[in-house]
């Protein structure tokens, strides 16, 4: 349905993946980390572009939404929650309509019909502080109010048909499934890692099994406890199902993570840079403007050999430090971190970081000496969200040239290397602060509790 297609060059550091259901196309572009493999590409500096094909509109009027990784996750969660609300409306229709006799549907359960008309609509769904939200327009249309994602081209609101909403959801869910396979599910010996639950909610193949589990103990009239993603519920289920086909199914979805079916390895094809993906739908992908990776080599503090997997030799000209994240099963609290949707930073209008917004009053300015320090702190305060599993502070040394452009990033310590993709540090070559009369060397400290410290060095 929304198959992903790879394009890129084997030795290129830029990778692109497209998801192409019938009425939209989601293109995700990122920079490939050094330790990427075909089966498990590792992307950083992710950007996305969602093109909504409306056959009723001329090509020039097709709507495009684009943004960065935080915005992509935010949009994914928004669409999923909206669809969830939309689908659960049917239950209310039924409540209002049906008054089954005692012997039907749950035998003897007292009904508590809600006084709600069948034509009730879903309340506009928005997230706190988010200006991006969705609202229904009857059964067949839905308004996506772009808020911070809006551009002059896209306008403030995109009207989606229901099929388009479904296609957008499919594309986003395909991306999320890929993302999940990229970050890897490492068996911890006790089932799914906790960090998987914020995104997956329930395991795709066993979603319903999980979701129905509470009904075993609760008659339908009671509120079931929220579905758990622990192995215990699976054990209970398989115990009950025994040798039935359903049991087999449940057992399959219960398989240890390493035996879970993974998407087939995407084929990487040689294509000229910034080429379009070879997907069947009409090609309307605007090449995303990705800055070429800077050609600086980066001194890093390598982790001790006992912790370092055999890494492929660095690509010539790459500026990425060897990034150990997800390449090896980590144990304990350092297990693969995860972007918890509830903690995704408030997305901001994405603009290539040209000139930062001048800072206003900041209580720390007095101590900063140079305003650029405050600017950088502001930048990270607006973006930094500690990933799940982080239990220590991360420290980096950042070097900015006179123009305020980031020219060097040195992670200090293993955790800083591991979590660098979550650190929100922009690519080298991006502008991070106003110009200054000399290069600046800054110490960036990102706390596990979300606080940000920046010091001039």
């Amino acid at each position: 349905m929304a198959e992903g297609h790879w394009s890129g060059q084997i030795w290129s550091t830029r990778l692109e993946r497209s998801y192409t259901p019938p009425t939209c196309r989601l293109t995700v572009v990122g920079r490939r980390s050094l330790l990427s493999s075909r089966q498990r590409p590792r992307l950083s500096n992710l950007r996305f572009e969602l093109v909504l094909d409306d056959p009723r509109l001329p090509n020039d009027d097709q709507k495009v939404v684009s943004g960065d990784q935080a915005q992509l996750f935010h949009l994914s969660q928004l669409v999923r929650r909206y669809v969830q609300g939309f689908l659960s409306q049917s239950a209310q229709h039924l409540e209002a309509l049906a008054a089954p006799p005692e012997s039907f549907y749950g035998g003897g359960v007292k009904r508590r019909a809600i006084a709600k008309g069948a034509g009730s609509t879903i309340a506009a769904l928005s997230q706190p502080r988010a200006a991006t939200y969705m609202e229904p327009q009857g059964l067949a249309a839905h308004n996506l109010v772009l808020g911070t994602l809006a551009t002059p081209d896209s306008g403030a609101v995109i009207r989606l048909g229901t099929l388009q909403l479904f296609d957008v959801l499919s594309a986003l869910e395909s991306f999320l499934a890929d993302w999940e396979s990229w970050v890897g599910v490492h068996p911890e010996g006790d089932g799914l890692p906790a960090w998987l639950s914020p995104l997956v909610g329930v395991v795709a193949t066993g979603g319903l099994v999980m979701a129905l589990a509470p009904l075993a103990e609760n008659p339908p009239s009671q509120d079931p406890s929220p579905p758990s993603t622990t192995l215990e519920s699976w054990d209970a289920l398989t115990g009950i199902f025994g040798q039935t086909v359903l049991g087999t199914l449940a057992a399959q979805s219960l398989a240890q993570p390493e035996t879970l079916p993974t998407p087939p390895p995407p084929a990487i094809v040689e294509l000229p840079p910034l080429s379009r993906s070879s997907a069947p739908p009409p090609e309307r992908v605007t090449p995303l403007d990705i800055a070429p990776p800077a050609q600086t080599s980066l001194p890093i503090s390598p982790p001790s050999s006992s912790e370092t997997p055999a890494a492929s030799s660095p690509l010539p000209g790459s500026s990425d430090p060897p990034d150990l994240l997800f390449e090896q099963p980590l144990s304990g609290p350092e297990a693969a971190p995860w972007v918890d949707f509830s903690e995704v930073p408030e997305p901001e209008p994405f603009a290539p970081l040209t000139r930062p917004v001048p800072v206003g009053d900041d209580q720390e300015t007095v101590f900063d000496g140079v305003p650029q320090v405050t600017e950088v702190r502001r930048y990270f305060q607006q973006r930094w969200t500690p990933p799940e599993g982080l239990n220590q502070t991360l420290e980096y040394t950042l070097v900015l040239d006179e123009s305020g452009t980031l020219t060097r990033v040195s992670p200090l310590g293993r955790a800083a290397v591991q979590f660098q993709e979550h650190s929100q540090i922009p690519e080298l070559g991006q502008s991070l602060a106003s110009p200054h009369d000399s290069p600046l060397r800054l110490r960036l400290v990102l706390g596990q509790d979300g606080d940000v410290k920046v010091f001039g060095q």
Partner: protein, 164 residues
């Protein structure tokens, strides 16, 4: 707050599929066999009892398993007939935009007729046809979400049992 009658919800969702695809109960049973679920059910009569939430059946099949069987049937059928579901919804979108009633489109008219018939046979409360038709169209729109690889999870959302 989950739907108080997931069985009713699933039964009517299955009815929506039957009405759209013009499936008889024999056709439905053939799908059960294809999915290998007949071992759990035994015969067609059990499937009917299961759809009605027959209390006696719970002794034979735990309720959770009953719901799973219905859910699997729905997702398998929706996946197999996604094109037809899309066509029906595209028509609904088109007629809504033209501000014309859905029943003017042949496919939707037949769908509504069959759904209403099945609904009335179930003696479920209201007989107000406009309400029954609005439910029928809502369940039709829901079907496309059950036709994706993540259909089972979306169905759990529909029953208000899962969270994203």
């Amino acid at each position: 707050m989950p739907t108080p009658h997931p069985q009713l919800h699933l039964d009517l969702t299955l009815l929506a599929l039957q009405a759209l695809l013009n499936l008889s109960s024999e056709d439905l049973w053939a799908t059960v066999v294809t999915l290998g679920l007949e071992r759990d059910l035994g015969d067609r009569q059990t499937l009917e009892q299961l759809r009605q939430g027959h209390p006696a059946l719970t002794r034979k099949l735990p309720q959770r398993q009953q719901l799973l069987i219905l859910s699997q049937l729905i997702c398998a059928l929706a996946q197999e007939h996604q094109e037809t579901i899309r066509r029906a919804i595209a028509l609904l979108e088109q007629y809504t935009q033209l501000e014309r009633p859905a029943r003017e489109a042949v496919l939707l008219s037949e769908y509504l007729q069959r759904f209403t018939q099945g609904y009335l046979q179930r003696s479920l409360g209201t007989l107000k046809l406009t309400l029954v038709e609005s439910l029928a169209l809502k369940l039709l729109v829901d079907l496309v979400f059950y036709s994706s690889p993540d259909g089972d999870r979306h169905l759990a959302w529909g029953l208000d049992l899962g969270s994203p």
